[in-house]
């Protein structure tokens, strides 16, 4: 009798499994493990000292971490809502366009084509207090004669980052909501008009329930960014000045690479991911509920 041979499907998938293991699974396990150690890049041996939950306990009481955490949640909450509203408005305008709709749709997607790094650089330039477009425009229009320190003042910098975020991601909402509007049957809207609805009521009671799932899809996609809001901030302010725009990921990368405290940084990262997962699950729940409500067939 021959010895045991692994089944063919397993053998065929083995290369893929190996690659995945090497680039995803092993780093994942390793980073999770290291979050339970005082691992410092400068002291490799520290990787083998287990300290239990001490990193996590430390995070729980770390005011700096919670400030960054709060700021991240705030940024995303505001950004998501603004993007949602702007995206909805854009989508409804484009849907009304009788000519050139294709072109408008393409243009609408432009911001998605830029790397966030580039977006960061663009807005960093635009909000520059000396040579930036924004100040230049404000001064030319005579609205102010001062150089507004957009990227230096804490709340102004937060606002500038918000603008960049919104600019780069509104199209996610716009595209998905537009898809919803285009897929929507027109008869219920007509029925609503005959039933006595004003345009606002038609939107509120008929259009909105129908496109809500599409908005939630966009929310779900964007909520993944809770754990990713990094590139734009990194370029525009790098969490500065003096940590006034520190977000979770700028803090984590600073902890990991500048301070070289990899174990602590990994622990922070896991907390951040947990947050992101919570957001995603929340919107996914909403999405399923909204889908059943309109009896969607997908």
């Amino acid at each position: 009798m021959k010895g045991w041979r692994p089944p063919a499907p397993f053998l065929l998938l083995l290369p893929a499994i190996l690659v995945l293991a090497a680039v995803v699974i092993i780093p994942l396990i390793l980073s999770l493990y290291s979050s339970f150690t005082p691992f410092r890049l400068t002291q490799p041996a520290s990787l083998f000292t287990l300290i239990g939950f001490r990193n996590y306990v430390r995070i729980l009481t770390d005011i700096e971490f919670w400030t960054a955490f709060g700021r991240t949640v705030l940024l995303l909450t505001v950004a998501l809502n603004v993007e949602m509203l702007l995206g909805l408005g854009l989508a409804m305008l484009v849907e009304k366009a009788t000519r050139g709709q294709r072109l408008l749709r393409t243009i609408m997607m432009f911001p998605m084509m830029f790397s966030p790094i580039l977006v960061g650089f663009q807005f960093k330039f635009m909000f520059n207090d000396n040579i930036g477009l924004v100040n230049n425009a404000l001064q030319s229009l005579g609205l102010t004669d001062q150089a507004i320190p957009w990227l230096i003042d804490g709340s102004l910098a937060f606002f500038a980052i918000l603008v960049a975020e919104v600019w780069s991601s509104t199209s996610v909402f716009a595209i998905l909501i537009l898809a919803g509007l285009l897929a929507m049957p027109k008869e219920p809207i007509e029925a609503a008009r005959v039933d006595g609805c004003t345009p606002w009521q038609t939107f509120r009671y008929v259009t909105w329930p129908f496109i809500m799932p599409f908005a939630y899809i966009a929310m779900t996609i964007r909520s993944l960014d809770v754990a990713r809001a990094y590139d734009i901030v990194k370029i525009m302010t790098d969490g500065g000045p003096a940590k006034r725009t520190e977000l979770l990921w700028t803090l984590i990368s600073r902890t990991a690479y500048a301070d070289a405290r990899m174990g602590l940084a990994n622990a922070m990262a896991y907390v951040a991911i947990l947050l992101s997962i919570l957001f995603t699950v929340y919107f996914f729940r909403k999405l399923s509920a909204a889908r059943t409500q309109i009896a969607a067939e997908w």
Binding site: A191, A192, V194, G196, I294, A295
Partner: protein, 365 residues
């Protein structure tokens, strides 16, 4: 007062005219049935009245007031859409109560009205379902319910019973009739079903290719069709319509077969005139199996061979060969007939029609 007037009403899509300046006066509380072949512009006309399609030219008046540019909500009418147009995210209950909710009624006032409508439409057990969980006929009844909970000036129905089975359709027809008697609204009712049109309507409007062919009471359009088109459209099975010439005071068919010229057309045609001869199946029957309404002298007897029969129970449709074409007759108190059997048929010429072959208009005075 909800009179509805259409004045030279035109609908144009780009350069394509689909409604060609129609005129129609609908009296207050009148029940008008709009019939016509598919694509003749019935839904378009209804949608213009509802305010869902802009009017290209002409006027629509409700209660004497021009409402061309009024939004639908300001017209106070209820519509049942051909495609139902239910709100997919609302339950049947919410669908039916929606217009009342928008009108600002309180939930406790809405509930009894919805329940009442649901009872009428036999929907009570479905009130908590969503449209996607309903059959086509059930959806159609919800669409109906959405309209009848309201108390509008004008009801617009676009084939509201087209997806119901025969029994339910009969039942609903009665309900619509009762509803109309009760609510005192003007009704414009599009249908493909002649029985519906004949039984429900005060007047029937027959449309064709965006024109109104004839407006009249059910008896009018059935007994006195103005054109070949109306004659062929109203009545089931349709009227026998055969081309013929007038010669020697007789109707002469292409193959030389002849029928006497019906008395009422004697002064209205000239020799050599090209006509279309029309006779309803009811007026073509095997001797002893029909009712003739005119004088005995008006009944022409002719032996014909039976080609085919369609027994319907209380009557049988008999297809036979005459003048080189197929004619359908109706046999009351039927007996079994064998194909090929020869029978003496009665042509009740007092009920015959003659139309001008070219224009299709009736030659009756």
């Amino acid at each position: 007062m909800a009179t509805v007037s259409l004045e030279k009403l035109v609908k144009r899509y780009g350069s394509l005219d689909v409604v060609h300046g129609i005129d129609l006066e609908v009296a207050d509380r009148e029940f008008i049935a709009l019939v016509g072949p598919s694509g003749c512009g019935k839904s378009t006309t209804l949608r213009m009245i509802a305010g869902l399609e802009p009017v290209s030219a002409g006027n629509i008046k409700i209660g004497g007031r021009v409402i061309n540019d009024l939004p639908p909500r300001a017209r106070n009418l209820a519509m049942v859409f051909q495609s139902y147009a239910l709100y997919p995210h609302m339950t049947v209950r919410e669908n039916m109560g929606f217009s009342l909710k928008i009108a600002g009624q309180k939930p406790e006032d809405i509930a009894p009205q919805v329940d009442e409508a649901a009872r009428t439409l036999d929907l009570t057990h479905l009130l908590d379902r969503r449209p996607s969980q309903l059959s086509g006929g059930q959806r159609q009844r919800v669409a109906m319910g959405r309209a009848i909970v309201r108390n509008p000036d004008v009801f617009l129905f676009d084939e509201p019973l087209s997806n119901l089975d025969a029994k339910l359709r009969t039942q609903m027809r009665v309900e619509i009739k009762k509803l109309h008697a009760k609510v005192q609204s003007t009704v414009i009712y599009v249908t493909h079903d002649q029985v519906e049109a004949m039984t429900l309507a005060d007047r029937i409007v027959i449309m064709r290719d965006g024109y109104i062919e004839q407006v009249g009471t059910p008896e009018d359009v059935f007994q006195r069709p103005n054109s070949k088109f109306v004659a062929g459209f109203i009545g089931s099975p349709p009227m026998n319509l055969k081309d013929a010439d007038i010669a020697d005071g007789q109707v002469v068919f292409a193959n030389g077969d002849r029928l006497p010229l019906p008395a009422r057309f004697r002064d209205r045609v000239t020799a050599g005139q090209k006509v279309t001869f029309g006779l309803r199946p009811d007026d073509l029957y095997p001797a002893g199996h029909g009712i003739h309404s005119g004088e005995d002298a008006d009944v022409h007897r002719q032996d014909l061979r039976v080609i085919l029969t369609e027994p319907l129970g209380n009557e049988t449709l008999v297809f036979s060969d005459y003048a080189g074409a197929e004619w359908v007759g109706r046999m009351l108190n039927p007996r079994r007939l064998a194909p090929g059997e020869a029978l003496s048929f009665c042509f009740d010429l007092s009920q015959a029609h003659l139309f001008d072959r070219e224009s299709g208009r009736t030659l009756r005075g």
